[in-house]
Symmetry: C2
């Protein structure tokens, strides 16, 4: 069971899209930040501030990355990255559990 040790967890949730996307912020020992989140089925567009690495822990979703013409399909587990200051689209098909890292 993967765990983050010696972490600081922000109690209050981050809530987007009427709660269809929610996450908790976790500050790691090395000073970096991740958010652990859940996305319910739906279509979403997100914008990045810094570069983001999205690790899909479980789920079923299609991703349209910036500049991509074709959607990427992740079923189960997977990882994708989005550069800073860009937007990307998601089509979430089943409940998706993720860990997003900010770089």
């Amino acid at each position: 069971m993967a765990q983050f040790q010696n972490a600081t967890v922000v109690k209050e949730a981050n809530v987007y899209f009427n709660g269809n996307v929610t996450s908790r912020t976790v500050l790691l020992e090395d000073g970096s930040k991740v958010t652990l989140g859940i996305m319910l089925p739906g279509t979403y567009e997100f914008g990045t501030d810094t570069k983001e690495v999205m690790e899909i822990l479980s789920g079923d979703l299609k991703v349209l990355l910036p500049d991509a013409k074709d959607w990427t399909h992740i079923q189960g587990q997977g990882t994708f990255s989005v550069p800073a200051q860009r937007t990307f689209k998601l089509e979430v098909r089943s409940v998706t559990d993720y860990c997003c890292s900010y770089q």
Copy 2:
């Protein structure tokens, strides 16, 4: 901004009711456990193992505690407790952010 320091966070989410209720498990420095969760609108019945103290961080929900005849309404913030080995019902009216402690 309330935070848990020196915590261990389980990466994988706990998912209930098709993702309408989800939480993350956080193991605290003193050895106790909390779950930080989100409930979307709906009606739910839960059973307790140990005694649970539910702190509502934000939301709008009605609670029917064990042995209670009347529902309790929490709008915004609040706290309620449920003894071990009992069931309770929730009618969640808007996205509800909670912290559940186990005793």
